[in-house]
């Protein structure tokens, strides 16, 4: 069964789903069910794919498929996953059905084909994000990296809030600019490599010799694109605007999964292909990461709009992820990759629960709430759990990863680790203040009686996320076992060894 094209199938099913949903006849009543069916089928396939993955394999990439695509350019259609890529793909295929259920009533049925378009775009986006994480050819990665902007653009621009056109354009231009700068680096990288008809394969480009200046320029070309995508301070400005205008389900996929392409790209491309330049750039990148942590957290405290608040918390969390990646220890990087998964679930919960509140109150302004633990106890309770996950409470998922990032970073860069750790305190502030303003205090009596609590559909949305919090919080070992070999491979490429025995990773996670 190893030759079976699992990843291509995983890519094609949501794509076919998108085509089917888009072409369903106007007025068809069960568009959403069909879309959900395809996303669940993808989820099952994703889990089956994961079962094919061998933890003890010596290869960097498994489930590989390589076909020549544009031999004249040296481009192959090459898919394959390591532990990190597989984790991201699984995160994506789990979150998409949840988002589809959460987005069930986003677009009314009777409005022409708008509902068809909405769900078709979500499925197309799912296909793109599987592709971008599975691509092991730099050109193919770039194609998915750019092409996935288009469904997001239309999801924001056609279905978002009042400022949607501006938000969509600013999202697109930021990403496109980063992508185009990366394009120059992609071309130049190929010319540095061995060339030939498969010269864009990651294998062909790993460990090539180039002079230090070229390598640094190429690193910068890739890094800018990934920093915009992640997003890091100071190129983050598109995110709060986009997140506040997009539908929450779109934001979940965008922030929870797609933005991980930025941090994923840093590991896969920046570190693996440009090891020396990565070490050269580490102090600057770490500084930016710490700035993102603090800046995102401080601004999150000051937000009045819930969705913008969540966006800023994400900037802070992405700072932690980048910090862990560039600290270049096994513990910190395993923590960072685990954080990428955890942040996906946490952000999904925050966005979707905030959306439930916003839909009931008709306002995104935190000041319009108060006493909602009496109005909608279930929603308020879930918000608290999701928030505690966001502030990395022990026992919940984010704690493991945040702790690992900080102790791992402390091994090599104690100063950055200490400054970054203050972000944990700020996180407690922005989450608890938010919860306090929304859920505690007196509630308007007419709201208490008139506002329905969580519906069955909403419970279906929230339940799997809560399960993920607890599982990843209490028993992160399977995830760590999946991620750690990939991290070690990356660190071997960079050529660094840990200052303490690598067993620390296992100990750190088993407490």
């Amino acid at each position: 069964m190893t030759d079976f094209p699992w990843l291509t199938l995983l890519l094609l099913v949501p794509l076919a789903g998108a085509a089917v949903v888009a072409l369903l006849p106007r007025g068809f009543a069960r568009v959403r069910e069909v879309a959900l069916g395809f996303s669940l089928l993808t989820l099952v396939l994703g889990l089956m794919t994961a079962l094919q993955f061998r933890l003890d394999s010596g290869e960097q990439f498994q489930l590989t498929e390589t076909y020549s695509w544009i031999p004249q350019f040296g481009v192959s259609y090459a898919l394959g996953v390591d532990g990190i890529a597989l984790a991201m793909i699984l995160l994506g295929v789990v979150l998409v059905p949840i988002c589809l259920v959460a987005a069930w009533d986003d677009v009314p049925v009777g409005d022409g084909r708008r509902q068809h378009t909405y769900f078709a775009l979500m499925l197309a986006l799912e296909a793109m994000m599987i592709g971008v994480f599975a691509a092991t050819d730099v050109f193919l990665f770039y194609v998915f990296f750019e092409a996935m902007l288009i469904p997001v653009y239309f999801l924001i621009g056609s279905f978002g809030g009042p400022q949607r056109a501006k938000a969509a354009t600013s999202f697109l231009l930021y990403s496109l600019l980063g992508g185009l700068i990366m394009l120059v680096a992609v071309i130049a990288l190929y010319l540095q490599g061995p060339g030939g008809t498969d010269g864009f394969l990651v294998e062909s480009l790993t460990g090539i010799q180039m002079d230090a200046t070229t390598e640094r320029f190429l690193f910068i070309g890739f890094f800018i694109a990934f920093a915009i995508k992640a997003p890091m301070w100071p190129v983050h400005t598109w995110l709060p605007q986009t997140a506040s205008e997009a539908r929450p389900a779109t934001s979940v996929l965008l922030v929870g999964v797609l933005d991980k392409v930025g941090t994923f790209g840093m590991i896969r491309f920046c570190l693996q292909l440009f090891p020396e330049a990565s070490q050269w750039a580490t102090p600057v990148v770490m500084t930016l990461a710490v700035a993102s942590i603090l800046f995102g957290a401080v601004l999150a405290i000051g937000q009045r709009d819930m969705l913008r608040l969540i966006a800023y918390t994400s900037i802070s969390h992405f700072g932690f992820i980048v910090l862990g990646i560039f600290a270049l220890t096994t513990v910190s990087q395993t923590g960072a990759t685990l954080y990428m998964v955890n942040h996906g679930f946490t952000t999904a919960a925050l966005f979707l629960i905030a959306a439930m509140l916003i839909q009931r109150r008709g306002s995104r302004d935190i000041a319009d709430f108060g006493g909602w633990q009496r109005v909608t106890p279930l929603i308020a309770g879930s918000l608290l759990v999701a928030g505690l996950s966001g502030l990395a409470l022990p026992g919940l998922n984010s704690f493991v990863s945040e702790f690992m990032v900080i102790i791992g970073t402390f091994q090599t860069y104690p100063v950055f680790a200490v400054i970054g750790a203050t972000g944990v305190i700020l996180a407690a502030l922005y989450i608890l203040l938010w919860y306090q303003r929304v859920a505690t205090g007196p509630a308007a009596p007419e709201l208490v009686t008139a506002t329905p609590d969580m519906s069955l559909r909403e419970k279906v949305v929230v339940a799997p996320l809560m399960v993920a919090f607890l599982v990843l919080g209490f028993y992160p070992k399977p995830a760590l076992d999946l991620l750690e070999p990939a991290v070690q491979t990356t660190l071997q490429h960079v050529g660094v060894s840990d200052p303490v025995p690598t067993d620390a990773a296992a100990e750190g996670s088993d407490e």
């Binding site: 695509w69 544009i70 004249q72 653009y153 056609s158 056109a165 969509a168 496109l176 600019l177």
Partner: protein
């Protein structure tokens, strides 16, 4: 001195002969067929001529490559590919031109080109059912000139080809049915500036003749290589010839005509002109700079590099300020000319194949884009102001989707031909040491992307505009649009076959 007739390889010239004979037949039809029937005769005649010529390129001319007609004509890989491309683009271009929208004659063209706009003669001619079916033979002559332009291996022949392709275009530009004054103004501007540029070309040709003692490219190349002691004539000669050629592709600073002419000309003519003229002129530029004066590259390469950079920057920046769809496409064509020049400057076979690929990609997205512009109407005439396209996606989802897709291709988003083309020219340029041009290129791409996405934003996210309607095209226009869109997608997803072809065809015979 005895005159010996040169050997002429007629098989190599067969496609050209077919096109010119078709054009002459078209003139005869104008003389003998009644008004009511001309359209019905001319359109099939023109399309059949083009298809036959295309078949001749593929089946006959391809097997008789070589330099013929006393060294004046080179029938080589690039020439054949350019001819095939021009003919294919001309077929869909003519299909768009022939659109009648249910009327008696082609919708885009005035019924009485010679009459003063708004005069009694004009209304009389309209009442009598006059037609302007001479556009079809004119198009064929222009196509013939374009084909010859890419084959000419001699400066005089190249000049003749330039005139053959240009003169019909000047006339076609002035024949719009609506906004006739704008159209005639565009025609006059195009003619005057075109005449100037032709004169520059001719002057440059004489200087080069003074330098090399011949108009033939192989002799010029040999003279440049060995040096003949008249070096003062060479560089001015190259630059002046270059002015004439760069004018045709609308490169900065010879671009001033482009927006006015693109806007004023009948929209199907704009599409045809934008696609086919660019292909032909780049063919000629490739041949002049790669064959005739290549040994003097150190003299002209920096100047062309500056022209390329300026074209990208000016085309991109100026398009931001435009509010008319046709003018946006005009400035985008200037920027695209810059992108193609970046590939051309690589000065190796990757540069040639990249340039040829980009030309194919650009041609097949431009004609359908202009064809879609003809469908959007407001009170009878084309609604070309961007604000009139607001909310178009709700009323005409297919038109909006098609135009948006083409905009994505113009912007160079992956999985469209625009991206593959950009990648081809940019990678050739980086390999050729032009990384700084590529950096300007990607920044200009980002700016133009803003412009294209603004159009998409207007169509999809804007409120509906009151009196804008979308009319249903005939099967022929639909075919042209669908072909263009399919090719644009195909060259984005599966570009290998054409890349293979352009690589095989990237050797000039010298």
């Amino acid at each position: 001195m005895e005159f010996t007739a040169p050997d002429i390889d007629w098989a190599a010239l067969l496609p050209l002969i077919i096109v010119f004979v078709g054009g002459l037949l078209g003139v005869a039809v104008e003389g003998f067929a009644g008004r009511a029937h001309r359209h019905m005769v001319q359109v099939p005649l023109t399309v059949a001529t083009l298809v036959l010529a295309l078949a001749a390129v593929v089946l006959v001319a391809r097997d008789s490559q070589g330099i013929t007609a006393a060294g004046a004509v080179a029938n080589d890989g690039p020439a054949l590919l350019l001819q095939g491309l021009i003919l294919s683009l001309a077929v869909i271009g003519v299909l768009v031109m022939s659109e009648r929208f249910g009327g008696q004659s082609a919708d885009a063209f005035t019924q009485a080109g010679v009459s003063v706009p708004g005069s009694a003669e004009e209304s009389l001619a309209t009442r009598l059912g006059a037609t302007t079916t001479e556009v079809y033979p004119l198009t064929l002559f222009s196509v013939g000139g374009m084909m010859l332009f890419g084959m000419a291996n001699d400066l005089i022949l190249m000049f003749i080809a330039l005139e053959i392709l240009s003169l019909p275009l000047y006339i076609l530009t002035g024949l719009a049915r609506r906004r006739r004054l704008l159209s005639q103004e565009a025609s006059l501007k195009y003619f005057l500036l075109g005449a100037f540029s032709s004169a520059f070309f001719l002057f440059g040709a004489t200087l080069i003749y003074g330098f090399a003692g011949s108009m033939r490219f192989d002799v010029i190349a040999e003279a440049v290589r060995t040096g003949v002691g008249m070096d003062g004539l060479l560089v001015p000669g190259i630059l002046l010839v270059g002015v004439g050629l760069l004018f045709k592709i609308g490169a900065v600073p010879f671009h001033a005509w482009t927006p006015d002419v693109y806007q004023g000309a009948p929209t199907p003519v704009t599409g045809f002109m934008a696609a086919c003229t660019k292909v032909a002129a780049f063919g000629a530029i490739l041949r002049v700079f790669y064959v005739a004066v290549e040994p003097a590259r150190l003299e002209w390469q920096p100047i062309l590099a500056v022209v390329a950079a300026l074209s990208m920057i000016v085309g991109a920046v100026m398009s931001v300020r435009q509010s008319d769809i046709k003018r946006i496409l005009a400035y985008s064509s200037i920027a695209h000319a810059g992108f193609i020049l970046v590939g051309l400057l690589a000065l190796e076979s990757a540069g040639i194949s990249g340039t040829l690929f980009y030309l194919a990609a650009y041609g097949f997205m431009t004609i359908p884009a202009f064809a879609l512009v003809t469908l959007v109407r407001s009170s009878g005439s084309e609604a070309t102001h961007v604000s009139q396209w607001s909310g178009l996606a709700r009323r005409a989802p297919w038109v909006a989707a098609g135009f948006s897709f083409l905009m994505l291709a113009f912007a160079g988003i992956p999985l469209t031909s625009g991206f593959t083309g950009k990648f081809a020219v940019f990678s050739a340029a980086v390999a050729g040491g032009g990384a700084w041009l590529v950096v300007i290129g990607v920044l200009a791409s980002a700016v133009t992307a803003y412009v294209y996405f603004r159009v998409i934003v207007t169509m999809y996210f804007g409120e509906s505009h009151g009196d804008t309607v979308v009319i249903t095209p005939s099967a022929m226009t639909t075919f042209a649009i669908v072909t263009g869109v399919v090719v644009t997608l195909g060259l984005g997803v599966m570009p290998s076959p054409l890349l293979e072809l352009t690589q095989q065809a990237s050797q000039f015979l010298r």
